[in-house]
């Protein structure tokens, strides 16, 4: 059965079509989940894509997380379903409490759109199950608020429980412990700042994002085996 991916759309989201395109390129099917929906319509996985939900006004993700669709996403996550937040989606998942910590302004106080080299830190996650530990991936970043922070206890736990999924080889934004992506304790909810969908075609300069997008599709079949 083909994997069905729901891609959340808030007013201000802008990467939803890009994610859908790559999911379809990989043989999955994808559909938009408008922020006012209160059910996910039976999708296997959810991607919260990049953009500027509600303009990122007040704080990134602050308003978006109250959307009806986020309640449904939280239920899906609680049942072990894969949920991946990319860039603004990562910020939304943190605000919603589905992932620990928060994302602040880049240390250089500038928006950054450029390639980043990432190191895969664990393959035990809905985003990296097809990758290899230690693998380097060239995937672009595109954000102003990608500087990951959390309190020391949370960081200790993230490290101890192998919840840091991706690290920057060369930290572009001041993120704590070079963190580019993390997962929850259940390993089914993952957030990352870089944009794997933008590294999906040799014509665009890199295909290194495909392994991550494929992992999301692969996670679709494994929902029930995900630990709670």
């Amino acid at each position: 059965m083909t994997s069905r991916v729901g891609v959340v759309q808030f007013p201000g989201t802008n990467c939803e079509l890009d994610v859908i395109q790559v999911v379809e390129q990989l043989g999955g099917t994808a559909e938009i989940l408008f922020h006012l929906e209160s059910a996910l319509g039976g999708v296997d996985a959810v991607v919260v894509p990049g953009g500027f939900a509600h303009g990122d006004y007040l704080r990134t993700g602050a308003i978006a997380r109250f959307s009806p669709v986020m309640d449904a996403v939280a239920r899906h996550a609680a049942e072990g379903g894969p949920v991946v937040g990319i860039c603004n989606g990562f910020q939304v998942l943190c605000e919603a409490g589905l992932l620990p910590g928060a994302l602040q302004k880049n240390a250089g106080l500038k928006f950054l759109c450029e390639d980043a080299v990432l190191r895969v830190e664990t393959t035990d996650s809905a985003l990296t199950n097809m990758a290899t530990v230690g693998q380097h991936l060239n995937i672009p970043i595109n954000h102003f608020e990608g500087n990951y922070v959390c309190d020391p206890n949370v960081l200790a736990r993230l490290r101890a429980e192998d919840q840091v999924v991706l690290r920057y080889v060369d930290n572009p934004n001041g993120s704590l412990d070079n963190i580019a992506g993390i997962c929850n304790a259940g390993r089914n909810v993952v957030g990352l700042m870089p944009h794997p969908e933008r590294a999906s075609d040799a014509l665009l300069g890199s295909e290194d994002g495909l392994v991550l997008m494929q992992s999301i599709l692969a996670a679709c079949g494994q929902v029930m085996s995900m630990p709670r």
């Binding site: 007040l58 704080r59 602050a62 308003i63 109250f66 943190c94 605000e95 620990p100 910590g101 928060a102 602040q104 302004k105 880049n106 240390a107 106080l109 500087n147 922070v149 959390c150 309190d151 020391p152 001041g174």
Partner: protein
């Protein structure tokens, strides 16, 4: 009754404030060498229509916890400055 509310949102101690840190680093170059501990946060002002000041404060606390601040990294301080008859 109408209340005029000011909420100040600041970073929790121990959480880095990238904007404040940058401003602090910038000041000496402008000739201000006597400034320290710069912190940049948010001020939110609003009018709230509530029964009494306690109700107004309780609702503001809740709005801050839920929306106006992110308790993971931010602290907030509410002041209900003055009361305007509705």
């Amino acid at each position: 009754m109408m209340f005029s509310v000011t909420v100040q949102v600041t970073h929790l101690p121990g959480i880095l404030d990238p904007v404040g840190a940058t401003v602090e680093r910038a000041l000496p170059a402008l000739g201000y060498t006597n400034v320290s501990q710069v912190h940049v946060g948010k001020t939110i002002r609003l009018m709230i229509d509530a029964e009494n000041v306690e109700a107004a404060r309780a609702q503001c606390e809740e709005m801050c916890q839920r929306l106006l601040a992110n308790p993971v990294i931010e602290a907030f301080d509410i002041s209900i400055d003055d009361v305007v008859p509705a």
